[in-house]
Assembly symmetry: none
Homo-oligomer: 159 residues x 2
C-alpha cells in the first residue's frame, strides 16, 4: 500500500537519475534509502512500472523508464547550440505538435540537417524549405523541452 507506492516512486526517481545496471545494484540503492525487499519483489515492481532494460551508448545495460525507452542519450552536443545559433536561426514557434523555425534565406535545409543528425526522439522529422523548417514533434512533448534540446534557451533575458 503506502509502503509499496512510495517505493515505486523512489524506484522511478533512482532509475531516471542514475545508471542502474542490475536489480542487485538497485536493491542496494534502495536499501540505503531504507527499503528492505528482495530481488523477486523488485522484479515485480519493475514489471509494474514498465521499466525496461536497454543497452546504452556506453555498451552497458541500464534500466530506463517507459518514456525514455527510445531515448539514447547522446551528450556529445555541447557545440550543437553554437552551431544552431550561428546558422541563420531567426525564430521558433509552436502549434500543437508542430514547430516552425524561421531562418535566414537559404539556411533552412542545412539547419534541418543539423537537427536531423541528432536523432532526437522528441522530433519525429523535419521538412525544410528555403527559410522555414517544419518540425513534427512527438505527442505531448512540451515546447520548452524542444527549445532545450535545440539550445534555444534564453540565458540572459526575458522579453
Amino acid at each position: 500500500m503506502k509502503k509499496k507506492t512510495s517505493r515505486l516512486d523512489v524506484i522511478k526517481m533512482i532509475v531516471s537519475s542514475q545508471q542502474v545496471g542490475s536489480q542487485e545494484e538497485l536493491l542496494g540503492i534502495l536499501k540505503n534509502e531504507g527499503f528492505e525487499l528482495t530481488q523477486a519483489t523488485l522484479s515485480r515492481d519493475l514489471k509494474q512500472l514498465k521499466v525496461a532494460k536497454a543497452a546504452s551508448v556506453t555498451g552497458k545495460y541500464v534500466y530506463v523508464l517507459p518514456n525514455d525507452i527510445m531515448y539514447v542519450r547522446n551528450v556529445a552536443s555541447t557545440n550543437a547550440s553554437e552551431m544552431l545559433m550561428t546558422s541563420g536561426f531567426i525564430s521558433i514557434q509552436f502549434s500543437g505538435n508542430l514547430a516552425v523555425i524561421k531562418t535566414k534565406p537559404g539556411y533552412a535545409s542545412s539547419m534541418a540537417y543539423d537537427i536531423d543528425i541528432h536523432n532526437y526522439t522528441q522530433i519525429l522529422g523535419t521538412i525544410a524549405g528555403d527559410d522555414t523548417i517544419l518540425l513534427v514533434l512527438k505527442e505531448g512533448t512540451p515546447p520548452a523541452q524542444i527549445c532545450k534540446l535545440l539550445s534555444f534557451v534564453n540565458k540572459d533575458n526575458d522579453k
Copy 2:
C-alpha cells in the same frame, strides 16, 4: 557484414511487427526466415540494435525497438503499394493527426506524388522534402488504417 546487417534489418522488422517474448522465440522466427544463429549471437544483435525488453500492457514482456518506428517488410505485394515499397520507403511514424514517412534521399517527393494521386479521404495532404514526407491525416484516423491504405500491412504469420 552483408549477412549480419540484413539479419539486423529482419530483426527490426520482426520486433516491430509482432510481439516477441523471448530470444528463443525470436530465434525460431528467424530460422523460418532462413537465418541460422544461436541465442548468444541474437543477444549480441539485440544489444547492438538497442532493442529493449519491456513489460507490455498485457503483462507480458516483449521486445521493443528504441523508438516507435515501424519498419516494413520489403515483400512484393503486386498492387499500388508495390510502388511505395520499392521507391525508397524507410519508415513511418505517427503523431496525432500527422504521419511522417522517411525515405531514402531524394525519394520523398515522388513518393508523395504517388500518395496524392490516390486521393485518400483520410489523407488531407502531403508535404515532401528530400527524404521526409509529412502526411496530414483526417482527424481521428487510426494509424493502422493509414498503414493499411498505404499497404504497410503486417504480414505476420508462420507459413
